[in-house]
């Protein structure tokens, strides 16, 4: 009796999470050291956004990290590499990660999340004026500028606000209806 009650309560608590659209959600970062070391120049990317082979390569060339110096002490570098690899796109069970891996050719080792084919495709309809020409965004690399809940691992459409342009969902719908008017 007691057991079934616990079960029911647990189910009730978890139901909203099970039902929620976890297709566009990844496991958030809980590692404080990672946040400190890899979250000071940009938001701390979730490990499940890149495969192990990409993290491995990226972590061995931190002296020239996209033109910046992001060097770490050897032991910190090792600890963080282990962290990234153990939760990478091919180690994680995040659905978004599985989808991204399915689209990635086996011989490709992208060093950028924005070069993952799935994400490239998802973003290809956003005009440059909202991204590279938008001084508040600068580059697609800064996920959290538009995905307001990126830190918590959510990339859901309802949480997208493009600085200077507002909510994406409404905009997309508006443009859709304008097209219908033509």
């Amino acid at each position: 009796m007691k057991k079934s009650l616990t079960l029911t309560v647990a189910l009730l608590i978890y139901l909203p999470y099970l039902a929620a659209d976890d297709n566009e959600r990844v496991t958030p970062v809980r590692n404080e050291q990672y946040k400190e070391e890899c979250g000071s120049c940009h938001f701390a990317y979730q490990p499940s956004l890149l495969p192990s082979r990409s993290w491995q390569r990226l972590m061995t060339q931190l002296e020239d990290h996209f033109g910046e110096n992001a060097e770490l002490e050897a032991n910190t570098q090792k600890t963080l590499t282990d962290y990234l690899i153990s939760r990478s796109a091919n180690s994680s069970r995040d659905k978004l990660a599985t989808k991204m891996m399915r689209r990635l050719a086996k011989n490709k080792i992208p060093l950028r999340i924005t070069e993952m084919p799935y994400l490239k495709h998802e973003h290809d309809k956003i005009p440059d004026k909202m991204v590279t020409q938008n001084t508040e965004v600068k580059s697609l690399s800064y996920c959290d500028k538009c995905h307001t809940q990126a830190e918590s691992g959510s990339y859901l459409e309802k949480d997208i606000r493009i600085p200077g342009y507002g909510q994406w969902e409404e905009k997309a719908e508006r443009e859709e209806s304008e097209k219908d008017d033509d």
Binding site: C41, F43, A70, E71, E73, K138, S141, Y142
Partner: protein, 136 residues
């Protein structure tokens, strides 16, 4: 009664000072290190000058200075010149966490000197600039 007040006051004293004391502890250790590496007297003024000095980046041709990311008022939050990510103020007077972690200071001085000046800072320069930041 007077004695009681005095004792209370004495107990509060370390609380009021604790953060600036912490800040100096990390910097003091670094300054001692720089001295044993050959640096002499550290100067707030020389630190301030280095802070504002502009250096031309060999690759982009653009001028760079410490203030490019931290602004010229250290009590204000900064912004990473390339990524735009906000940076907490460096001044210990408004950000008690600043200059408290030796490893963090070492790491960022190495990176930021390379980025700004194109080479690592000398022990003398590092000591001057830390002494300057501490007065802000």
């Amino acid at each position: 009664m007077n004695k009681y007040l005095m004792i209370c006051g004495m107990m509060l004293l370390p609380l009021a000072y604790s953060h600036s004391v912490l800040a100096t502890a990390a910097v003091d250790e670094l300054l001692a290190e720089y001295r044993s590496a050959g640096a002499t007297e550290f100067s707030v003024e020389a630190g301030n000058t280095l802070w504002l000095q502009e250096f031309q980046d060999a690759q982009s041709g653009k001028m760079r200075q410490c203030a490019t990311c931290h602004t010229d008022n250290l009590r204000n939050p900064g912004k990473h010149a390339r990524t735009g990510k906000p940076i907490e103020p460096l001044a210990t007077s408004v950000n008690p966490k600043s200059l408290t972690d030796i490893k963090k200071i070492r790491k960022w001085l190495k990176r930021n000197c390379k980025w700004t000046i194109g080479r690592e800072c000398t022990p003398q320069e590092k000591g001057n600039v830390l002494t300057f930041i501490q007065t802000q």
